[in-house]
């Protein structure tokens, strides 16, 4: 870690009208960028995202049509630009892995956003109102927790058919429970702080107290939990796809690819290896970023 010279900086700013303060967010960002694992993870994740976005331009092969002039399945072949080989239907695995990345990342981010939206609203409301309302709201969460989640998702799929948006909703609807608990706990502890009482004494409205004073102060743990939820959701989606409840052909996700690869593990190992590497690296990256964020946002807990 290099120590930057701060003195010249300070001297300059004193001559200005007002000194710019360093917010807690600013400090956290600095600490995050000092964490090597987190920075490398962000770079790798960025590369994967760019690859997924540019997928159609990176390979001459489409993701849904077979290459009739090559083996079904065929091993990796650089000359034909089948870098990861082809699958049992002769489709290029490289393009399919990147298309799978699109679906997997989208599921991860959208389902987490759904859980964030429901969880933060629900948890902050329960925590702030407290008393009996809090009791009832959290008992509802407890009851939902005790329902077998897989059964719930499978039921949804059977009832409404396989639909990518249903997966987002189903996953988000399950993941918000933990988020709600975390936000409620944080809200309860922030609510007791004296600055909230000061706001009451000033006559700040309840809505303003929640949005200006409580939510910014519970955001730290929420962000951390969010980065840890994304890989969890991706994994769950892969699991659902593995069971055959995921996205529909010819669309694909990493879970679908791994599921297919596992069936031909002995004859065509590349079908399993490449998507599995992508999935593992992505999960690793999200977890490292989550770790880095936790240390950055709450340095006391390290």
């Amino acid at each position: 870690m290099k120590i930057k010279p701060i003195i010249p900086d300070r001297l300059e700013s004193i001559s200005e009208d007002a000194v710019k303060g360093r917010s807690l967010w600013h400090d956290a960002r600095r600490r995050l960028f000092q964490n090597k694992a987190a920075v490398i993870s962000m770079v790798i994740l960025g590369i994967i995202v760019v690859l997924a976005i540019l997928a159609p331009y990176l390979s001459p092969w489409p993701y849904d049509d077979p290459d009739w002039g090559y083996d079904f399945p065929g091993p990796p072949n650089a000359e034909l630009k089948h870098w990861f080989g082809t699958d049992g239907n002769g489709r290029d695995l490289f393009v399919r892995t990147l298309y799978g990345a699109r679906i997997s990342l989208m599921v991860g981010i959208l389902a987490t956003s759904v859980s964030l939206l429901i969880g933060v609203t629900y948890g902050a409301t329960a925590g702030f109102i407290g008393g009996r309302v809090d009791n009832i709201m959290m008992r509802i969460v407890d009851i939902l927790y005790s329902l077998p989640f897989m059964f719930f998702v499978i039921l949804l799929m059977v009832f409404f058919g396989r639909n990518i948006f249903l997966i987002f909703i189903a996953l988000g609807a399950v993941e918000w429970l933990t988020m709600a608990r975390i936000v409620r706990g944080q809200t309860l502890s922030v609510k007791k702080k004296e600055f909230i009482e000061a706001a009451h004494a000033t006559g700040v409205s309840t809505r303003k107290i929640i949005t200006r004073h409580i939510i910014p102060n519970v955001l730290g743990p929420v962000i951390v939990y969010m980065t840890l939820t994304i890989p969890m959701v991706i994994l769950t989606e892969s699991f659902l796809s593995f069971l055959g409840l995921g996205v529909q052909e010819p669309l694909t996700s990493w879970g679908v690819l791994i599921s297919e690869g596992a069936k031909q593990m002995e004859s065509a190992p590349w079908l399993l290896i490449f998507p599995a590497i992508f999935l593992a690296i992505t999960l690793f990256c999200f977890n490292f970023i989550g770790d880095g964020l936790r240390d950055a946002l709450d340095p006391k807990d390290r």
Partner: protein, 341 residues
């Protein structure tokens, strides 16, 4: 120390009548119910414009609860709070809002009372944004800067965050936030007990200066008798949620008439080793009784050297023994005569 010399206008700005704050406490067991914790159990006083009322008492005697009860930050179980002729006890949030401008509070823990995610400019400006939303951003900033200057903060620090300041500076920010609306009454809830001694003096002098400039009334809650003596015109001694003695500052220190007040004052160290050694201290036996189950009659009788049967039977009322002196003790004359220090 000229605060006692000024004679404030003789017209109460705040009248507190028999206020009670009870907290329901869950009892254990199968058939659980709630029993009241009597944090403040019937306190009366008047506060004049420009006057400082010191509130002293040991930990857990209801000092802070009293202050919050007056500001309607806690629900009153009983009693009236009359502010400039209007009863504000039990008003709804909306009805209370117009009085919030005139009633403010300064907290004990300077850092905890400031939102760590807001710049101090935003923190000090918040009361303005709530009560004067029509102000333009420049006017608001100007007012904030003027107030920062007045409380001894450099106005160019306006964009800094609370964690970048020391405890004393944070308390100045708290004072600025309380003062920005030019209130008429500030409840100071142990504003200096978290600060070190040299800083305490600065903050006390700042508050006194503001009081003189703006004609503030103060309710100054503290457990430090020396500080209360320095800043107050009148002093109220609380014991277990009850006022046991209310007197003019000089009278209270020179002629305390309640055995509890006498014990408190005898515990104040004198900055002279010879006097301090010669001084006799009254050491009270036992602990503060539980406010869940206060003693019958006089709340102080369990620790009082003068306690008799009458004290257990009958609760002494606060009686006027002099124009500036009220005491709640059946045997105050005896206590006054026995006084050694």
């Amino acid at each position: 120390m000229n605060s006692g010399a000024q004679s404030p206008v003789k017209e109460p700005i705040l009248s507190v009548r028999n206020i009670k704050v009870y907290f329901p406490i869950q009892t254990a067991g199968l058939f659980s119910g709630t029993i009241p914790l009597k944090a403040v159990d019937g306190v009366d006083f008047d506060l004049l414009a420009g006057e400082t009322l010191g509130v002293v008492g040991e930990s857990g005697c209801g000092k802070s609860t009293l202050g919050r009860g007056i500001l309607q930050l806690l629900e009153l179980s009983d009693g009236n709070v009359v502010w400039m002729g209007n009863n504000i006890g039990g008003l709804s949030f909306r009805e209370m809002k117009k009085y919030r401008k005139q009633l403010q509070i300064i907290f004990q823990d300077p850092l905890a009372s400031l939102n760590p995610r807001m710049t101090i400019g935003d923190i000090i400006a918040e009361p303005l944004t709530v009560h004067y939303p029509e102000l333009s951003a420049e006017e608001r900033t100007q007012q904030v800067k003027d107030m920062m200057d007045r409380v001894g903060l450099l106005p160019l620090m306006i964009n800094r965050y609370p964690h970048e300041f020391s405890g004393g500076q944070c308390q100045r920010i708290g004072v600025a936030r309380a003062m920005i609306l030019k209130p008429k009454l500030i409840v100071c809830d142990e504003p200096v007990s978290a600060l070190d001694v040299s800083i305490q003096a600065q903050i006390i002098n700042l508050i006194k200066g503001l009081q003189e400039d703006f004609g503030l009334s103060l309710i100054f809650i503290s457990h430090d008798l020396s500080i209360v003596r320095h800043i107050s015109h009148r002093i109220m001694v609380l014991y277990l949620g009850n006022a046991v003695e209310v007197a003019d500052r000089k009278r209270l220190y020179n002629n305390p008439c309640h055995p509890y007040t006498q014990a408190l004052i005898s515990a104040v160290p004198i900055p002279d080793p010879d006097l301090e050694k010669a001084k006799q201290r009254i050491v009270l036996q036992g602990d503060l009784p539980s406010p869940l189950n206060p003693p019958s009659g006089c709340v102080f009788r369990t620790r009082c050297p003068l306690a008799r049967d009458l004290c257990a039977r009958e609760k002494p009322r606060l009686q006027q023994i002099d124009p500036d002196h009220q005491v709640a003790c059946h045997f105050w004359q005896e206590a006054q005569d026995q006084r050694i220090i």
